[in-house]
Structure formats: structure tokens, C-alpha cells
């Protein structure tokens, strides 16, 4: 069984441009969009990482360059350990990354979700459609500039939309977002408290 140090040396010997990435748990590597498919194939075939546990992306906000980073988490069912691989998309406006559906069939839906939420195009994907939002939805909801409440859009079904007059609206946040604030007493931290001008800790003013 190879240790984490062995894996780091082996990968850096095989791919000199794949540098170790800061990590608090499993070994991790930074790769590039051009090389990452080869790194992942090497990890699967030569190092025994036979299972793709997760595939996701990071949006570092529109000001940063590179803007998008795609993350792969691999697991070895023989060695019982994980490895993380990251690669930046070169373009911020049309982020592109090679698909790994040829290496792990399970990457199919992960990449569709990643495309749905971040708008990253996975080249070579057999069926790159939205998976959570509907076809024709105009936004990528997990991009940083997209508000949690959403933006106005058309319903998936134009016929129903015409009959009901309903559409996608920006959700009324009602003092939200609906998350508790840490470091406060529960009565002030819980979402309901943010919606009220007063509670037992602050007097009603109006």
C-alpha cells in the first residue's frame, strides 16, 4: 500500500506540472485543464482510484482570474483512501473542462449538475443537459453573482404560464436568508428573529 508521500512523489514524477495542493485531509493536486484528464486516468489506472466520489466546482467570483476551478474527489476501494484533484478553467466567460465520463460512468450526472449550476462545459460529455433546473432556464444559480432569491424568468411550460399568469419571481426573502447567525443567543440568531424589529434583547422602537 502506497502512502500519501509516495502518491505525491509518484504524481509529481509522472506529471511535473501537477503541484501539491493545500489540503487538511487527503492528498491533493493542482492540475491544468489540458492535463487533468491524463492525471485522472493515471490515478485510476496506475494508483487504483477506481471510484469517483464527487465532482464539483468553485466560483472564485467574477473579479478573480482564473474564475472557475473544477474539483474531483477520487476513492480507492482497495486502499480505502481519497485523493483530490483540482484544475482551473482557462476562460471565465466560457469555462471548459474535459469530461471524465469515459473514465467513470458515474461522472455523467455530476458533470450535468456542474454544468447546470456553474455553466461549465464538459467537452466529450455524451448528453450535457441541465439536470436540476429545466431546459431553457437562463441562469447558472451557483455562480457568485446570482442572488439566492433568484431572478425573474419564465416557467418551464409556456402554456401553463399563459393560463395562470405565473412566472419565476425573485423570492421574497422576508428578512432572510433563512439561516441562523452563529454566535448569538438562539432567540436572536434564528431566521424568524431577523424578520422582527424587536425581541426580548432589543426593544420595539416603532
Amino acid at each position: 500500500m502506497t502512502t500519501d508521500v509516495d502518491l505525491t512523489t509518484a504524481v509529481s514524477q509522472q506529471f511535473p506540472s501537477a503541484l501539491p495542493r493545500a489540503s487538511l485531509d487527503c492528498p491533493a493536486f493542482n492540475s491544468s485543464a489540458a492535463e487533468v484528464a491524463a492525471v485522472l486516468k493515471y490515478l485510476r489506472d496506475a494508483q487504483g482510484f477506481d471510484f469517483l466520489t464527487d465532482l464539483t466546482a468553485i466560483d472564485w467570483t467574477a473579479e478573480k482570474s482564473p474564475r472557475f476551478t473544477v474539483i474531483w474527489h477520487l476513492y480507492s476501494s482497495e486502499q480505502h483512501r481519497y485523493v483530490r484533484v483540482a484544475a482551473d478553467c482557462t476562460s471565465a466567460t466560457e469555462p471548459v473542462m474535459p469530461s471524465v465520463t469515459g473514465l467513470w460512468a458515474g461522472a455523467d450526472w455530476h458533470e450535468r449538475e456542474c454544468y447546470d449550476m456553474f455553466g461549465i462545459i464538459f467537452t466529450g460529455h455524451p448528453d450535457l443537459r441541465r439536470i436540476l433546473m429545466w431546459d431553457g432556464y437562463p441562469y447558472f444559480p451557483l455562480r457568485k453573482e446570482f442572488p439566492l432569491a433568484g431572478l425573474p424568468a419564465a416557467l418551464p411550460d409556456a402554456e401553463i404560464s399563459a393560463e395562470t399568469g405565473a412566472g419565476v419571481i425573485a423570492a421574497p426573502m422576508a428578512g432572510g436568508p433563512f439561516v441562523a447567525t452563529p454566535g448569538q443567543p438562539m432567540s436572536a440568531a434564528e431566521p424568524r428573529a431577523k424578520d422582527e424589529a424587536w425581541n426580548e434583547h432589543s426593544e420595539k422602537t416603532v
Binding site: M133, Y139, A149, L155, D157, I160, A166, A171, P172, F178
Partner: protein, 169 residues
């Protein structure tokens, strides 16, 4: 329990084989006591809906135990759970497929108002796409709350001008 219908009294000693009543009362009595639900179970509220149908709470006591998975055979759509925008047109289409007269119960916070899902993906209240008769609070509501909603809906149905609606739709 469903309150006794004072308009449908029958004393065989006085009336023999003849019952006199108003058409509204007779029609509403029929509709009230066998209201077949269309279980639009979309999230955790559907678990409470199932509990309402099971032996402990037993929605059969109110004549609404026949859950129909075909909208053609259902009278009352119980929207139990979070309605996403992707699902919303489907809910409306199923509602359209139900035969009139039909009613809608919005069960729980999500169906009533979007609940805690103030987000881009969630319909902010099912009343934006279908007319709702009864809203049930709770996240999720207990089965008693759903039974209460059913009783409220039955009370509402009993007040409807059923005969004139049938004659002049």
C-alpha cells in the same frame, strides 16, 4: 366529526317513504362525505399525509380514504410538500385533469407560501398556479391538522350553491 346535517332529517313515521330537502343540501351531502383525495405528495408533508391515512388517524372516518392516483377520479388535490418551479406546471396540469367539482388543500408551509425555501428554485406558494381552498400551517403539519383542514373543506363544500352551479356552470 362531520356535523349532522340538519336539513337532511327524516322521520319515517311522519313522512313515510318521502324525503323532502333542498337540492343543494342533498348534493353537498354526497360530495362532502366521499371526498376522494389526489395525493400530490412532493416532500416530507407526504409522510404526514400517509400517516393521516393509516390506522392511528384514519382519514376514512371522514370519507376521504380513497387516495386516487388518477386525477380523473379525484375530487380534492392535497398538495403536500415543496413545489419547485420545475414541478409547478405538472401540478397545474394534474389539477386541470381533475373533473369538476374539485378542491385544493395546500398542506404545510412550503405548499402555502414557499415556506423556508426562499430560493430561486421554489414556487412561492401553490396558490400562484391553482386556486387553494384550505391552507394548513405546519412544517410538516401533524395529521390532526390535515384532518382539521379536511373538516374545514367539508364545511366549505356544504355552503356551496351546488344546484345553481350545476344548472348554470
Amino acid at each position: 366529526m362531520v356535523t349532522a346535517n340538519s336539513e337532511l332529517t327524516y322521520n319515517s313515521k311522519i313522512e313515510g317513504d318521502i324525503i323532502v330537502t333542498r337540492a343543494d343540501a342533498a348534493i353537498n351531502w354526497v360530495r362532502t362525505n366521499s371526498m376522494w383525495p389526489m395525493p400530490m405528495g412532493l416532500a416530507c408533508c407526504a409522510i404526514e399525509l400517509m400517516a393521516s391515512a393509516a390506522s392511528r388517524f384514519d382519514i376514512a372516518r371522514f370519507g376521504a380514504e380513497v387516495m386516487r392516483f388518477s386525477p380523473r377520479q379525484a375530487d380534492c388535490m392535497i398538495v403536500a410538500g415543496t413545489v419547485t418551479y420545475k414541478m409547478a406546471p405538472v401540478v397545474r396540469r394534474i389539477y386541470d385533469q381533475m373533473a369538476a367539482p374539485k378542491w385544493v388543500i395546500a398542506m404545510g408551509a412550503c405548499a402555502s407560501s414557499g415556506g423556508m425555501y426562499r430560493s430561486y428554485a421554489t414556487l412561492q406558494g401553490v396558490d400562484r398556479i391553482v386556486p387553494v381552498d384550505v391552507y394548513v400551517s405546519g412544517c410538516p403539519p401533524r395529521p390532526e391538522a390535515l384532518l382539521d383542514a379536511l373538516m374545514k373543506l367539508q364545511a366549505k363544500v356544504k355552503r356551496e350553491p351546488a344546484a345553481s352551479q350545476l344548472l348554470h356552470p
